[in-house]
């Protein structure tokens, strides 16, 4: 066989190799992005559980402390913001707002011994603290998936392909330091 034939074979082999490489890389990126989306929906489930609990909670507290209007308004506003949040970043912001609004609500509730002693309120409080723990874990899983996805699309040579194929960085779900501390404290309380 002549040299030209060999050259053609070599080029063909190279092309096949490159196609296989790109193929594998692309599928890997898609899989990684799917993991991010899937863990986001896991996150979403928990957030939804939390805000479906809130009207009930507000009603219960209102029964004992109807005049604390501002507190209820803040909670309701934060809840509405969380419901309409489209992406991770705005959801995280709304969620943090809701957390601090709820904290005020519980601080206010401290002033009403009858409310604190009511069965319904205690049940809601317990449920809410369980959901908050679940949100913390779901966020941990989501963020670790985001981290591995973001790393994957930024390292060489993946980054050469990621941009043209439309793989953009995913947002982390940032928690406030206060919220992190709160989750830990709620564990300690139960064990003590």
């Amino acid at each position: 066989m002549s040299a030209a034939v060999w050259v053609v074979i070599a080029i063909a082999a190279l092309v096949v190799l490159i196609v296989l490489f790109v193929w594998g890389l692309y599928n890997g990126l898609v899989r990684s992005r799917m993991q991010v989306r899937e863990s986001w929906s896991g996150m979403d489930v928990q957030l939804k559980r939390r805000y479906s609990l809130i009207p009930n909670l507000v009603e219960t507290v209102k029964g004992y402390a109807a005049h604390e209007r501002e507190v209820f308004e803040n909670v309701t506003k934060a809840r509405a913001a969380l419901m309409s949040a489209g992406d991770a970043k705005s959801a995280a912001e709304a969620n943090n707002q809701l957390t601090s609004a709820l904290k005020t609500l519980f601080a206010v509730a401290e002033n009403y011994p009858q409310l604190r002693a009511s069965e319904n309120f205690m049940q809601l409080q317990k449920e809410l603290s369980d959901i908050e723990a679940k949100i913390a874990y779901a966020r941990q899983f989501y963020n670790s998936n985001v981290m591995s996805y973001n790393t994957k699309i930024q390292v060489f040579p993946n980054m050469l392909l990621a941009r043209p194929f439309g793989f953009t960085q995913a947002d982390f779900f940032a928690a406030t330091e206060a919220e992190r501390a709160e989750v830990r404290v709620s564990f300690e309380k139960k064990t003590a």
Binding site: S39, G42, Q46, D130, A133, K134, Y137, A138, Q140, F141, N145, F187, E188, K190, T191
Partner: protein, 300 residues
């Protein structure tokens, strides 16, 4: 070595174990058949039977382990606190919710079994629930969930059935033939002589089998997997101290777990055969020293 290497190593070892089991059992039977002047039929039949046994074991070993351990399933409403701990950690690790079983025993211990994350079970003793606080319990559950995620459970569960039970059987045969041989009156004609030869063969096979099974067990279950599960469990809870304290409490408890035996001991988070630390049990010990594990957790 990454987690993915660990998982594929587990897959390889599982297949190797199943293959070796079939070849080994058929080989031993065939050797005996040849020694007694038989043909190849026995070997072939045993090959098929052993193959079937392995296939059945693959799917049902975990239910066997659960019933051997006398574990009972608990639902959400029977123990919501335990259920929530498992559920939360599953959310954190992206695992499907496993079944939860409880062993009614005051010795604190736990294990996980199953063939993959979709068919997995976490088992805890009632003693564990009594003696640990929530943070410590989370540490233990996270350790078990890591075994599930790493596919350790499949290999460890198959080891119970394919190696552990062989070891128990060999143990039993050894004891039986020992006493049998001692009680046998000296001479009672040809039939007795034949039976005596058979008992001798069984005794020799058993004597070879028991330490061999132990060796295979040690080989299949490197101590590294416990350290790895400790580390990934700590990564999940973000609180290594919880598991460290739990291990301390488990180590300090001197009570042995009644339902555990040589075949199932390696499944547990800490060696359940306390107080029976005979030579034979040490031979089967696949647990790394608990003090070393606590030290590593505290150093994280």
């Amino acid at each position: 070595m990454t987690i993915y290497d660990h998982i594929s190593a587990n897959r390889r070892r599982t297949w190797l174990l199943m293959f070796l089991f079939v070849v080994f059992v058929a080989g031993v039977v065939e050797l005996i058949a040849l020694a007694l002047g038989g043909g190849y039929i026995a070997g072939i039949i045993v090959l098929i039977v052993a193959g079937l046994f392995v296939a059945i074991s693959y799917y049902s070993a975990s239910s066997l382990v659960l019933s051997l351990s006398q574990a009972k399933e608990v639902k959400h409403d029977e123990n919501p606190d335990l259920y929530h701990v498992v559920e939360n950690l599953c959310i954190g690790s992206g695992l499907p919710m496993p079944k939860i079983y409880i062993i009614e025993d005051t010795a604190p211990n736990a294990f996980a079994t199953g063939r993959d994350p979709r068919h997995a079970t976490v088992v805890v003793t009632s003693g564990l629930l009594q003696k640990l606080d929530k943070l410590e319990l989370e540490g233990v559950i996270a350790h078990e969930l890591s075994h599930i995620k790493n596919y350790d459970i499949r290999l460890m569960t198959l080891v119970v059935v394919l190696v552990g039970l062989v070891a128990l059987l060999a143990d039993f045969m050894l004891r039986y033939t020992w006493f049998g041989a001692g009680r046998r009156p000296s001479n009672r004609g040809r039939g007795e002589g034949m039976a005596g030869a058979l008992i001798l063969v069984v005794a020799v096979v058993a004597a070879i089998l028991a330490p061999l099974a132990a060796q295979i067990m040690r080989f299949a279950l490197s101590r590294g997997r416990e350290y790895l599960a400790d580390a990934s469990g700590a990564l999940l809870t973000r609180y290594p101290e919880g598991l460290a304290r739990a291990l301390e409490k488990i180590a300090a408890d001197k009570e042995p777990l009644e339902v555990a035996n040589k075949a199932t001991a390696h499944l547990y988070i800490a060696n359940p055969l306390k107080g029976h630390e005979s030579w034979a049990n040490n031979l089967f010990s696949t647990h790394p020293p608990i003090e070393e594990r606590i030290q590593r957790l505290r150093a994280m």
